[in-house]
């Protein structure tokens, strides 16, 4: 119990609280000044942190030292309602003219509401793309096709000599470099070392595969030189390019789809068709 006149402890608590609030105000001013001087993320953060920490300390000391803590009890009326009250409420619903007893009308109302609810679902169709391509179909088709030339990241068409040995070159379909499912990579390998031929064939060791991992669709950008393997940075799936891009480690289960290529009459590389399988992650109707 507290005496009417503040005790020395209370006086010192009051002084600490005032001090903390003054520090808080200083922090706020510091923030405004920092902002006005051009802003520095670190100092702005520190000033705001000081401002709020000052508030917090002041309020916490106030709550601990100057107001009663603990020692109160509140009754709990429990959640079993009085039986009479429960019965009366139930009677309201069971009265002869209660709408809940008109079963026929309720059924009709239910029918109308269900119809409305179902009708309200139809506009959801508008959220689907309107290009009339069913999503599974869209996943199977890519911009690649017979005669589409291979270009590099800058849009320059590639000749066979542009793909050096022991490195991977990202290639894109000409005219559609931003398509999500089109990225592929070209590598030059020694055909003697193939333990299994590439699915899309090769041009004297030059092979093109889809760049999208067959696990979750990340680009397999890490080429482990010498081993003929590529690695996906997302979940560490690894594919053996010398064995038909078979998945050899990690969570991927299917090989990378290959891209059949040829050298066109203009001397540039071009595809002779789409990937040998839908690129990227698997889905229900994937062949």
């Amino acid at each position: 119990m507290r005496r009417p006149t503040p005790s020395p402890a209370e006086e010192s608590a009051s002084r600490r609280i005032v001090g903390a609030f003054l520090v808080s105000a200083a922090g706020a001013v510091g923030f405004a000044v920092t902002y006005g001087l051009g802003g520095d993320t670190r100092w702005e953060g520190v000033c705001l942190a000081v401002a709020f920490a000052g508030l917090a300390v002041g309020l916490a000391v106030w709550a601990r030292r100057l107001v009663p803590v603990g020692g109160y009890v509140e009754e709990h009326e429990g959640f079993t309602p009085p039986p009479a009250e429960q019965a009366m409420t139930a009677a309201e619903f069971a009265a002869p003219d209660s709408p809940t007893r008109r079963y026929g009308l309720l059924a009709a109302l239910g029918f109308a509401l269900t119809a409305l609810g179902v009708a309200a679902l139809f506009p959801l169709r508008s959220l689907l793309p309107w290009d009339r391509v069913r999503p599974p179909r869209a996943l199977k088709d890519t911009p690649w096709g017979a005669g589409v030339r291979l270009v590099d990241g800058t849009g320059r068409p590639l000749r066979p000599d542009d793909v050096p040995a022991e490195t991977m070159v990202a290639v894109f379909p000409e005219g559609d470099p931003d398509a999500g499912d089109a990225p592929a990579f070209a590598v030059r390998l020694d055909p003697e070392r193939f333990s299994r031929p590439p699915a899309g064939g090769h041009l004297g060791g030059l092979v093109v595969w889809s760049m999208l991992c067959t696990h979750a669709g990340c680009p397999v950008r890490l080429y482990l030189k010498g081993t003929g393997r590529v690695l996906c940075p997302c979940h560490q799936s690894s594919f053996d390019l010398l064995a038909g891009a078979r998945a050899v480690a990690g969570p991927a289960a299917r090989p990378l789809p290959g891209l059949p290529i040829e050298v066109g009459p203009d001397g540039f590389l071009r595809a002779t068709g789409d990937f040998t399988a839908p690129p990227g992650a698997g889905f229900w109707s994937r062949p």
Binding site: S14, L55, A60, A63, G70, E74, C218
Partner: protein, 587 residues
């Protein structure tokens, strides 16, 4: 004075005092673990405050935009408007980076606070009847928080978040039958579609926050209606709540916590760099970064995707791809288990009674065993999401770590769960008060099979028999009545949280809180409640102010007199001499 009059004016019109009187006196239990939910609440408030500021600068569009600003490496390059606006916000808007980083940190803290709060509720059995509804709401809010965290993380359209979005899209596409349609419905086309950033934006800033606000209100409303749970202790029963009052104690403490949350978040936002999207670069379908780790709260999913073996199969020619099991089934089962737990536990224990007293975690060895095993499982998955970073740090092949984690994720939860189960049983059956006091005999006994789960630690339905030395004291105080609970044996006194307007009300409250305890009316106030220091200070200032205003009034009066006299004859020197001593009088 003004506050008092304003309060009276409002009460005269709205009749708020009956509600306010009870609301201000609401008792909160004094235990730190009850603040975890508040931590989540205040992180959410911080998220809204910082998030609204960010919306003024974020351009939710995937249209091409040329970034021109002070980040030189990207100056003049064409990126999506979303990415360009985030880089501009980070480099060219004053305080923009601070607010953006604080927002991101707040989301991490928000999710962490929710998970800790959930664990507290779980291990203490606070989800039992009548609080199942609030458990369901809470679990729903966790899913919404995860969804909002992920959309927020993906919106800047940087390379790292683009990879994350691509992975999630692949996970959704793996759902049998409807996966590809669901993904297309969400993204408005094949990944990466032009519609996905605007859609994520609307989901992130409007849909999910609106539902969260509604559910938080409901969560708190139900909490106030049902009142707090509390740990067992002297004077604490199934029929009362013991602790401190909302006013003034918890008002101050809660505001202090809010300020702490903001202080820590702004310190993190200012000093600890997070998600530097300008370093990751804009999203491009053929680019990837390494290492690539998501925010911690989705890392369990990423870890599961890494650890799950390359198993996939076909049903009637249709493919069920590998990400389906770690990505969809695991998360689905985890949340299904969370939703169903209160009902499953009730089915097992056949306990249909109301519970307002919490369990100590040791009281339910099965619950703590399952909980610890689940937490361990997800913790291993979170660590596994960094296996490539760990491999580089430790200098071991990443696939060795992968196999190690595949074993750990199955073995470690069984081990920790069993240890938790046995420890809880040993603590419950033996005499040991804490972990350090456990003897070997306790542990040996814990290994033996038990009979039916004992009920001895549950509060019986009927009120406890009157213990000697326990009594309720009531006394009148002018018009109103007060009461308090006294336990002589334990030297414990608990004061009623509010005054009663009549003796009947006081008796009723005391009867509810301590059924079966004798009530005595004691004469006179046992201890006059002294004014608090604030009130004393206010009174002192009030006196000073009164004296001051008297002085001012007197001076004004004198002046008017003097003017009147000056109108009549010229001034009187006596007045100056009169006024001088008054000036020095008060204080």
């Amino acid at each position: 004075m003004i506050m008092d009059r304003l309060a009276r004016a409002l009460d005269d019109r709205l009749r708020l005092s009956p509600v306010t009187r009870r609301a201000l006196a609401k008792v909160f239990p004094d235990h730190w673990s009850f603040m975890l939910g508040e931590l989540a609440l205040y992180s959410f408030v911080a998220l809204i405050l910082t998030g609204v500021y960010l919306t003024f600068f974020f351009d939710a569009s995937s249209a091409d935009r040329v970034y021109q600003g002070s980040y030189a490496p990207l100056d003049g390059s064409t990126t999506s408007a979303a990415y360009a606006s985030v880089v501009r916000l980070s480099w060219d808007v004053r305080a923009g980076l601070l607010i953006r980083q604080t927002h991101h940190w707040a989301s991490l803290v928000f999710l962490a606070a929710i998970v800790l709060h959930l664990a507290r509720i779980f291990f203490t059995g606070a989800f039992r009847k009548p609080r199942e509804l609030n458990w369901l709401i809470g679990v729903t809010m966790l899913t919404l928080a995860l969804a909002n965290g992920f959309t927020g993380y993906s919106m800047p359209d940087d390379l790292l978040s683009g990879l994350g979005l691509r992975i999630i899209t692949s996970v959704v596409e793996s759902i049998p039958l409807v996966g590809t349609w669901l993904a297309a419905l969400a993204l408005g086309g094949e990944f990466p579609s032009d519609a996905m950033i605007p859609r994520m934006f609307v989901t992130h800033v409007l849909l999910v926050p609106a539902v969260l606000v509604a559910l938080i209100s409901l969560h708190l409303g139900i909490l106030v209606r049902q009142k707090h749970t509390q740990f067992p202790g002297p004077g604490r029963t199934e029929h009362n709540v013991v602790g401190s009052r909302l006013w003034p104690s918890y008002t101050l403490r809660s505001l202090a916590l809010f300020a702490w949350v903001l202080a820590v978040l702004f310190a993190l936002g200012g000093l600890a760099q997070i998600n530097p999207v300008w370093l990751y670069g804009p999203f491009e379908p053929a680019q990837s970064t390494s290492p690539a780790q998501p925010d911690w709260y989705v890392a369990w999913g990423d870890g599961a995707l890494r650890l799950f073996p390359p198993w996939e199969f076909r049903i009637g020619g249709y493919l069920v791809p590998a990400p389906f099991f770690p990505g969809v089934v695991l998360g689905g089962l985890a949340f299904l288990a969370l939703y169903l737990w209160p009902f499953a536990e009730r089915l097992r224990t056949r306990d249909r009674r109301q519970h307002h007293l919490l369990d100590r975690p040791r009281d339910h060895p099965v619950r703590i065993g399952v909980g610890v095993a689940a937490l361990t499982f997800f913790a291993v998955l979170v660590v596994a999401a960094g296996d490539d970073v760990l491999a580089r740090l430790l200098g071991v092949p990443v696939y060795d770590l992968l196999y190690l984690f595949r074993i750990l994720v199955l073995a470690l939860p069984i081990l920790t769960g069993a240890v938790a189960f046995l420890t809880a049983r040993a603590l419950r059956r033996g005499e040991a008060a804490s972990l350090g006091d456990l003897t070997r005999a306790d542990l040996r006994r814990a290994g033996r099979p038990s009979r039916r789960p004992s009920r001895r630690d549950d509060e019986p339905e009927t009120p406890a028999p009157d213990r000697p030395g326990e009594r309720i004291e009531l006394w009148p105080e002018g018009e109103v009545w007060r009461w308090r609970y006294r336990d002589e044996a334990r030297r414990l006194v608990l004061t009623a949280n509010r005054v009663a307007v009549s003796e009947e009300e006081a008796v009723e409250a005391a009867r509810l809180a301590y059924p079966g305890v004798d009530r005595v009316v004691v004469p006179g106030p046992p201890a006059p409640s002294p004014p608090g220091p604030v009130r004393a200070a206010l009174r002192r200032w009030g006196r000073a102010a009164a004296a001051g205003s008297l002085l001012v009034a007197a001076l004004v009066e004198r002046r008017r007199d003097r003017r009147r006299q000056r109108d009549g004859d010229e001034g009187d020197p006596r007045e100056k001499a009169d006024a001088a001593p008054r000036g020095g009088e008060p204080r």
